[in-house]
């Protein structure tokens, strides 16, 4: 309730940044825009080609899962929210975005940017919401190694470019460069989104756990547009198996 009174202050503090961005946009030269446009078109081409393959893979995945008698989760809906340039507390990695419960945002929703997981909504206020980043020392996210499916938990370090993985033994199968994706085990984050890339793996022969650090893939300190995700909690019912599969089951 009180947040309605303080939102104008947050809004005002954000104005200079917004103005600067607006000026930057309007004074950008034609050549620059052309170049950017070209670049984006190429990117778009590559992405849509990848997506073509992705949809085929998704269909295949659903088919295989129905063969295995397991279910597949529906896709996710997203809402684009813009960051307000305010700093609430220097000791926490919490940011404010301009979409709140009026847009249906609720607590515990995962937040992404174009490159990976950013964090989750901790407080949904009417006009804005607060998002805790995965690098906050009080935040932990269940992850798995993309290469071999090894599960663990990544804990924020308090630095924007570092995550700690304190619960893996010295002989864990993990090497620098491994991609960590969400495992979906906590029930908060949808499964399969990139979280971080393993940066260093230091064995500690005298201690039970290795010291592992990873770098978040999301641009935590530069991206201004974030995606708030509604992951559908209900699963797709099993596909009606095609006729030949029925034969197999009978």
């Amino acid at each position: 309730m009180l947040s309605v009174f303080v939102y104008p202050i947050q809004f005002i503090v954000d104005v200079p940044t917004r103005l600067f961005n607006g000026m930057h946009d309007s004074f950008e030269s034609y050549q620059q825009l052309l170049g950017e446009n070209k670049e984006l078109k190429q990117q778009q081409l590559i992405n849509s080609a990848r997506l073509l393959k992705f949809s085929a893979l998704e269909k295949e995945n659903i088919r295989l899962r129905s063969l295995l008698d397991s279910s597949f989760k529906l896709g996710e809906q997203v809402l684009i929210a813009e960051l307000l340039a305010v700093n609430l507390n220097p000791y926490e990695h919490v940011v404010v975005v301009n979409k709140g419960s009026r847009f249906g945002v609720h607590e515990g929703q995962p937040v992404l940017d174009a490159n990976g997981i950013v964090g989750q909504v901790v407080k949904a206020l009417p006009l804005s919401s607060e998002i805790i980043l995965i690098t906050d020392p009080n935040h932990a996210i269940p992850v798995q190694v993309n290469r071999n499916g090894l599960h663990t938990i990544a804990i924020g370090s308090g630095q924007l470019n570092k995550l700690n993985l304190p619960f893996l033994p010295n002989n864990a199968d993990m090497v620098p460069g491994d991609l960590l994706i969400t495992s979906g085990l906590g029930g908060v984050f949808p499964q399969g989104y990139p979280v971080a890339v393993v940066e260093s793996f230091v064995e500690q022969p005298d201690k039970p756990f290795a010291v592992i650090q990873a770098t978040p893939t999301a641009a935590l300190n530069t991206s201004r547009e974030l995606l708030i995700v509604w992951s559908n909690s209900q699963v797709i019912p099993l596909n009606n198996p095609p006729s030949e599969q029925e034969d197999v089951q009978d």
């Binding site: 009180l2 009174f5 303080v6 005002i12 503090v13 305010v86 700093n87 507390n89 220097p90 000791y91």
Partner: protein, 157 residues
């Protein structure tokens, strides 16, 4: 209670709103940790310079607003601000006549006490604080002359 002049009250609330905005301005990382608590400095100024405008109740309300503004435990800043303003009002006759450097020292002690209270509530909330959490006490004392002179000039207008 004596009647407070309306312009003074307007200046009081305006200065607090500006201080709130200053509190959440995103600084570059090296300065981020050391940013002083502008709202508390403003409250202390009013407590010392015009104790009739500043009351513990108002400080509590401002503290609640800051709690909501920064998404902290509700009542954390309210407690710290109320206690600080109480001390400021109690000692205003003494502190007001100090030379500006000595005033800074007195303010430094009040800021330290407020920080201790925040540290305490954060600890109850199971948060650990880095060592530079205390830095804002020093920067607060350093910028006190600026805050004090600016507000005095503004009041004089």
């Amino acid at each position: 209670m004596s009647k407070i002049k309306l312009p003074l009250l307007v200046t009081y609330w305006l200065s607090i709103i500006i201080a709130m905005a200053l509190n959440i301005i995103p600084w570059a990382p090296p300065f981020l940790m050391a940013a002083p608590d502008w709202v508390l400095l403003t409250l202390i100024y009013w407590a010392i310079a015009a104790p009739e405008t500043a009351s513990v109740g108002k400080a509590w309300m401002v503290g609640l607003l800051v709690d909501v503004l920064t998404g902290q435990l509700l009542g954390q800043y309210a407690l710290a601000y109320a206690v600080s303003v109480f001390l400021g009002v109690k000692q205003h006759k003494r502190i007001r006549h100090y030379p500006i450097i000595q005033q800074s020292l007195a303010v430094c002690i009040i800021l330290l006490l407020a920080r201790v209270l925040i540290f305490w509530t954060e600890n109850i909330n199971h948060q650990t604080m880095p060592i530079n959490f205390w830095l804002s006490v020093l920067t607060g004392a350093l910028v006190w002359p600026v805050v004090s002179l600016t507000l005095r000039k503004t009041r004089g207008l």
